[in-house]
Amino acid sequence: MSETAVRVTTKKDWMSDQEVRWCPGCGDYGVLQAVQQLMPELGVVPERTVFVSGIGCSSRFPYYMNTYGMHSIHGRAPAIATGVAVARPDLDVWVVTGDGDALSIGGNHLIHALRRNVNLKILLFNNRIYGLTKGQYSPTSEVGKVTKSTPFGSVDHPFNPLSLVIGSEATFVARTHDLDRKHMMGVLRAAYEHRGASFVEIFQNCNVFNDGAFEDIIGKQVRGEMMIDLKHGEPIRFGADGHKGVVMGGDGQLRIVEVADVSPDDLLVHDAHRADPALAFALARITHDEHQATPFGVFRDVKRDDYGHLVAAQLVQASERKGPGDLAALLRSNGTWTIG
């Protein structure tokens, strides 16, 4: 760590001079606040931090952070950020994306960044709608959704973003939402501390084109019974006084039960560090629609070498084996002859 890396910063150091231009009431403000508040706590400095985004409302994010940043092309942020992170493993690289950007036009780059385990912190703002283009259905919109491009209701089956990324060999997978800054900061901190690709789905409200998309889950009146807070090493319980819990049935399916109806030993103990992704996958699939109890927190957090370091290590190994590159010798490596 260089000396600058331990410099103390404040939230203000992370705020750019640009006017924030999201719609009033947009959930994006909450994420921006959380990130700007978290950065000083992480002990990092703006000059070693890079935010890369694609296109969409959320992708304006880098303009508002006083770091290095690039607002790039629709869907391509994970690829461009991969270039940054592979070139410079010393940097902290964050990707800000949305459900259309990451799961539709950029789906290919997302899954490959995750399987390579590039050291990227990927924040997917999921509002289940295209906001910037003013209200078309997205790959996470529910079947039947009526939008400008689906006046008779959408017939597209949506993605479950977390099961997609777990299937893409992601090593860190988490979910949070825009109404609980403390929870979000906790999840983002864990994402930051994970070396490799971290994927965080953020339920984010678009109050203009899809207002209240997650209200049945994270609304203040219902969240006590609808949000399942995952804590590593603890039995999965939720609801008032933890009266509900999660068990695994004999068929391998996870079920939500009344704790009183089962033996305490039957409750599933959350293990985010389990190498096998099946449990995280099952937890990601426990919710079948937007009206069911939904897990939040860290689903999966396992160790695997990150891509940038693996690439850099090969350079070091090659130098150790062959010595530093000698251009004159390279040009002669296929044999030469001399004339005159």
């Binding site: 690039m70 607002h71 044999g335």
Partner: protein, 643 residues
Amino acid sequence: MCNGAPLLTARRCRRCNEGERVTITSPQAKGETEAVSYVVVRFAGDSGDGMQVTGDRFTSVSALFGNDLSTFPDYPAEIRAPAGTVNGVSSFQIHISDHDITTPGDAPNVLIAMNPAALKADVHLLIPGGLVIVNSDNFEARDLEKAEYEANPLTDGSLRNYRVVEIPMTTLTQRVTEPLGVKARDAERSKNFFALGLISWLYTRPTEPTIAWIEKRFKDLVKDSNLAAFRAGYNFGETTELFDHPYEVRPAKLPAGEYTNVSGNTALAWGIVAAGQLSKLPVLLGSYPITPASDVLHELSKHKHFGVRTVQAEDEIAAAGMALGAAFAGHLGYTTTSGPGVALKSETMSLAVSLELPLVLVDIQRGGPSTGLPTKTEAADLNLAMYGRHSEAPLPIVAAYRPSHCFDAVIEASRIALKYRTPVILLSDGYLANGSEPWNLPDVATLPDISTSFATEPNHTAPDGTPEFWPYLRDPETLARPWAIPGTPLLMHRIGGIEKEDGTGNIDYTPANHEKMVRLRQAKIDGIARDIPLAEVVGDADAHVCVLGWGSTWGAISSAVELVRESGKKVAWIHLTHLNPFPANLGDLLRGFSRVIVPELNGGQLCRIVRANYLIDARSVSKIQGRPFMSAELVNEIEKEFS
């Protein structure tokens, strides 16, 4: 004009560009050789017959022997088309000489045809009277049927204009390898070494390098089998009386220096390594496999000890994105591809134009559109390079003209990218990529310094006196913006594809600003004309006729212009390596000629551009067959201008 008995020698008739036939009146004693100034040999066989390896070996030994040479691998897109069919024929043509040459030769003097399909596909290319050596074991009824021959060409008289030598190469190889314990079917795989041995004798090639190569490359029984086949082929030539005597192409009197034989793609990969060294920057290549560009990825992946990172991306778009991300982070970013990949990278190139970051896209052109002719050459991506982006997105274009020039061309593309903070497209093509030639190696100490500097300090002061960094505050001369890389304190900044205000880089949608930025980006590229060499006229500056060329047509134009000038006519020739911007004097030069012809392996793309730019009545000479020009074709086209 040419006439006389067929012969293997290759004294070229300058007029018709065919072999001058010299009859041998007295057989020479065995062991004597006859010197010829050049020969063009074409190896042709089934895709699985190892013709590319055979050609490579003949090339390598000829290079080490000191000949000048030029090669033309010509193979199908299918890995293994149905065996024995014309579609599956894989050929390798090599031109070796005792003097400076620029093309792989219009017409072979010798064709080695391993089966009827190879004969059918390639025999028409030969000079009249040329030598055809066939593997007669492969001319059974079934083989002829696969090649769709109705009658056996060896017996029906259709080859009467050639000298045909039938050799049962498979049988002879089996016979010589059988004592080693090689099964008859396995011996088949060594028969290309029999052919190589035979041709090595015929053209007096030293055998040691080939033997050493076989010993290094193969093991156990395969090694022994190949060695036995190679020696048997060589001895077959020496001991049989099928050939009067061997020929010798003496070492070429090339300029003094240390030479290596290099293909365009290898030279390009080495040029990228060199550009990293010359700029003192780490290199990152993002690439996705595509013919004929993949060899650049393969070659660069070997050289990690030069600080070269290579990433095989998930797709062409990601490959360009990774290179751009690396450039943002302070690396020298490259992405290598062919035409279809350029199309996919187009949006990223537009972003790079807007971001004003250095980036080099290498397009190894091939026949198109779409999958087109993946293994065949074409130079039809000039319009794509020039115009293939949305909106107004100009960028510099550099074109390589011979295999070894790919080295210098990519260094030049990198220099421009770094100095002007701009994406650059480098055009090569399949013919340059896979063709090879001797290269008089440069002294690395004389290569240009293309280093640039990163911004390290704020470059502006706010009204309240606070130092600031403005990412679009330009160098007044080059109009390049500062390159501040992550990790640099105080210079944090955001860039993006949204239109920005010059100077601050802040988002700015105002009408006047947009026009200003569009014109600034254009002016920056136009200004590069002051920083590239002026176009030079080769040949007769006072001629009426000028040939304007670019890219790999260089070899054929060079040879054609020389032939026409030798016939007493005046011809001028301008060959472009910078296609955007053009050299500052190009318009004035072209207007000085009454006739301008533009040979291109496309429908006339450069021709239309110079007509539009300079209002000159240039004539397009166009060939779109997946093959390079022959010199004779261009001689005819040039001569039309005198009629």
